[in-house]
């Protein structure tokens, strides 16, 4: 059973850095795990914590949020900083509600980091695979 589990992972990637990074991984034919479904958002600061909770509630096993590197890569100057604060607040919420905080991950991926993007996705997939299915799915 355990080795049959293939996690479903949802990725919110920012338009300017991380989505371009994912694109680079694709055009460079870098192989990475196919468990990730990508949603492009204009900025990681656009990712409302509601999105993450709704994704988890709907049976996604892990959520990746990726944006531009601090301090100064953000196209909108401070979107990534807001994303980072929200991410850490969200982790506190997940702790209190008994959901493993490892299911949500924030990463900085620039447009030139196709390799890093592939590495992050592979690592995260392995991590979620080890955690097992989302406990909310059964409830």
């Amino acid at each position: 059973m355990a080795n049959k589990f293939e996690p479903k992972i949802l990725g919110f990637l920012c338009n300017w850095c991380s989505y371009a990074g994912a694109d680079l991984a694709g055009t460079s034919r870098t192989q990475y795990s196919p468990n990730l479904r990508i949603i492009r958002v204009m900025c990681s600061g656009r990712v409302d914590p509601t999105f993450v909770l709704a994704a988890l509630k709907n049976g996604v096993d892990g959520v990746l949020i990726a944006g531009c590197h601090p301090p100064s890569d953000c196209h909108y100057l401070t979107g990534n900083l807001k994303a980072r604060r929200r991410y850490h607040l969200l982790l506190k919420l997940l702790d209190q509600l008994g959901i493993e905080r490892q299911r949500v991950r924030l990463e900085w991926v620039s447009a030139s980091e196709g390799e890093k993007f592939a590495k992050v996705v592979n690592e995260f997939t392995d991590q979620i695979r080890a955690l097992g299915p989302n406990p909310l799915e059964s409830s």
Binding site: P49, L53, L56, P70, L81, R86, H88, L90, L97, G98
Partner: protein, 307 residues
């Protein structure tokens, strides 16, 4: 009940309606209510969350007897403060209340049972559910009137709408659909806040936005309509009106709002640990951001581990 707060207006209400069952105000028996034909009552107010078998039974009975049901108050609308019991289970809750608190002396660990035998008689208490629910999780609800307690002007308006037959679409909340900040009289400077104060640590300025002063105020994620009474008393909003219809999850929205204003100069160079320390100033996040709405939130409760 806050319907009584209508004071002299109550007489107008009583001139227009006949009250068939109101256990907190009149001496009417449940037996009589059960005998009424189904669907014969025009309007029912239900207050309280669905926390045990009895709550559920009464809610279902009310649904059967009445044409229109209004979820009345924060508990019926969003689960209310009792909804924070969803951070635990009945077993853990009873252990805390009947065993572990320092002031409890209960050497035999007596705790409420749903059934017990005394002198050959079988006695029953309603069984408490592990998960507190909102009224709409249990029965079909026609309208919502939130607030803890619902404010008199809103109750007045609702009753007027009922009596004149001018109720909105089914499923609506009988309060304005905008956030509290829209009716807040304080000045907002859109400042960044770096330190979060708890209420006992600071006397807030009467004129300035409480969030700007580093006090967690749920205004940005809470529906208006209460007249900002807490704010007027120099207390932050705790969110008893629940979110607007545009917000799925009051606490998550509050994380987004607080995430926008929390922050220090030079934050862009901060390490993850430093950001964590900044964010750790928020104590009891669920208890603060979901004080009245945990059962109505996306996740509804703490995950129950299957052990």
């Amino acid at each position: 009940m806050s319907i009584v707060d209508l004071a002299e207006k109550l007489t107008d209400v009583f001139n227009a309606v006949e009250v068939v069952f109101w256990p907190t105000a009149f001496d009417q028996k449940l037996k009589e209510f059960i005998q009424l034909p189904d669907g014969s009552v025009d309007l029912g107010f239900y207050h309280g969350s669905i926390a045990n078998e009895e709550n559920k039974e009464i809610a279902e009975l009310l649904r059967k007897k009445t044409k229109t049901i209004i979820a009345f108050g924060a508990c019926a609308c969003h689960g209310g403060v009792p909804g924070l019991a969803n951070l635990t289970t009945t077993k853990e809750l009873f252990a805390t209340v009947y065993k572990e608190t320092p002031s409890t002396e209960n050497p035999d660990f007596t705790e409420p049972l749903s059934e017990t035998k005394v002198d050959g008689y079988s006695l029953h208490l309603p069984k408490k559910f592990d998960t507190v629910q909102c009224l709409h999780d249990c029965v079909d609800v026609d309208y919502y009137l939130p607030g803890c307690p619902p404010e008199v002007p809103l109750v007045e308006k609702a009753i007027e709408a009922i009596l004149t037959g001018k109720l909105p679409r089914k499923g609506e909340t009988l309060a304005p659909n905008r956030i509290l900040c829209d009716e807040c009289p304080r000045k907002r400077e859109e400042k960044k806040i770096s330190k979060i104060y708890r209420l006992q640590q600071i006397i807030p300025d009467q004129e300035k936005c409480l969030l700007d002063q580093g006090i967690i105020c749920l205004g940005p994620s809470t529906r208006m309509g209460c007249g900002a009474k807490c704010i007027e008393a120099n207390m932050p909003c705790r969110g008893c009106m629940g979110p607007t219809s545009k917000t799925l999850d009051q606490g998550a929205k509050m994380i987004a709002s607080l995430g926008s204003v929390l922050g220090l100069e030079g934050e862009e160079l901060m390490s993850e640990d430093e950001v964590r320390t900044m964010v750790d100033q928020v104590k009891d996040l669920v208890g603060t951001f979901y004080m009245f709405t945990l059962p109505a939130s996306i996740l509804k409760r703490k995950t129950m581990t299957q052990k």
